[in-house]
Symmetry: C2
Subunit: 243 residues, 2 copies
DNA sequence: TTGAGATTAACTCGCTCTGAGAAGAACTAT
DNA sequence: ATAGTTCTTCTCAGAGCGAGTTAATCTCAA
């Protein structure tokens, strides 16, 4: 933005090759004990018939507004936690033209199938393990989203975004187990969640019934006011992650 | 990207208002015990005379290549650590037109003043505490970069990117002190750095001379092969950060 | 109705990690 | 030489964590 040419070209963008800006959304939820992602089956070329992340062109609006709009077009997701994930703009990632896509990450409690309600009949929640060979570079975007959510569970109260407004410790533990793909020690998890200041706060009530397979009525909690977990809730270190 | 209109417009981008894509770089270094950022004094409107982050338009190249190119235009920074920070695209952030800017974060060891060598006579390293009222929304971009670097020092070996290929534990500690803005307990820091697997590895040598103000010749270390610090090197929790 | 099995919630125990402080050795500047 | 600084190691008490145990509670099936 320093040379005169740059300055002038800012007033005549057609001096440069046209670039399109889109948003793509990695919307995650935990259903049936699995981490699932919202995908769209593409009807048109390129990548017709392949699954893709929901997304579309950015209009005269902030980027996050565009992400929220695209998400609303596919589901009735409301009050979801939304954060920017990263931007993917390699030349050639879209065969038609240069497309720079700003990816967003959304977290939602378990919802009914979008196919029944949304106007996009081709939208579906898919377990992340089965979400492969997506259109464009969406495999890489999804992988970045999964890495992000796994890391953020450690040091933020993000898990509460995957459950309803009132939840049990066991429901919270199920979120961690689904996202991390490994079971957690129930007793230690319980102690840890209650000991981190501001993670959860008690409602003073319990569920109406015990668990489906027995056990006492668990107590209900709300999300607390913490933005960071101190100390963090660390998952066991894996050598492969460290090196 | 589902309606026919979207599909067609992808072949005729002028159906939408033109959008420019730029990169901006938050280049950080530690000089004189302070965290400093590379800034450019703008010569032209808008924001003439104000400082701004180095940046420019993206050409037919990957985004990271554009960031590296813009950085090279202002300094002789070589082999710097570069990572994507975030994308800033609010309408109105550039008064001329819609500009979506992908911000990158760069970390470099202490370097001579860019004014002496670079072709941009107006480039300068500025202590981050004095980098205020920048052009466009660069205050917000810089703030995001500072938050990122402070957090990443905790759980990655990023501090080694701020020092030379061989360094002392005290130099590493000075990086932490400069970035976090608080002194660290020398003994505990020493124990911690050496105990985290893969953070640093010994060269078996020491410096030629002791410190400027006395003390024995410190041992020299290289960066290790760890990508993550386990256990992390946490800074003391501040209540303001948590809530 | 009763028993088997599962779950919640709380506790114990040993180990590791951390913060704070201390101390000896090594080195520079005066 | 002396004073002051720094490097490096050590100690000690407290906090946190993984693993295991236990009592109470509840569902489901016999």
């Amino acid at each position: 933005m320093n040379s005169e040419q740059d300055f002038l070209s800012a007033y005549d963008p057609r001096a440069y090759a046209p670039v399109a800006v889109t948003v793509d959304v990695v919307a995650l939820t935990v259903r049936d004990g699995e981490l699932q992602v919202l995908l769209i089956e593409r009807g048109e070329h390129p990548f017709a018939g392949r699954y893709a992340l929901p997304g579309g062109f950015v209009r005269d609006e902030p980027l996050e507004t565009a992400a929220r709009r695209e998400l609303a077009e596919e589901t009735e997701l409301d009050r979801v936690h939304l954060e920017q994930l990263g931007t993917f703009g390699d030349p050639g990632r879209d065969p038609r033209m240069r497309v720079v896509s700003v990816a967003y990450l959304a977290f939602a409690p378990s919802m009914p199938d979008p196919a029944s309600g949304g106007d996009a009949a081709s939208a579906a929640w898919v377990p992340v393990a089965q979400a492969r060979e997506l259109a464009f570079d969406h495999d890489a975007i999804l992988a970045a989203g999964l890495e992000r959510v796994r890391a953020k569970l450690e040091y933020t109260p993000l898990a509460t975004a995957f459950v309803g407004p009132e939840f049990t410790i066991a429901e919270l533990r199920a979120v961690y187990a689904a996202v991390w793909g490994e079971d957690l020690h129930a007793g230690n998890f319980h102690r840890k969640v209650l000991s981190v200041p501001g993670f959860v706060e008690s409602t003073g009530t319990t569920t109406e019934r015990g668990g489906e397979r027995g056990g006492p009525k668990p107590r209900l909690y709300r999300a607390g006011d913490a933005r960071l977990l101190h100390p963090a809730l660390l998952r066991p270190a894996r050598e492969a992650d460290i090196r």
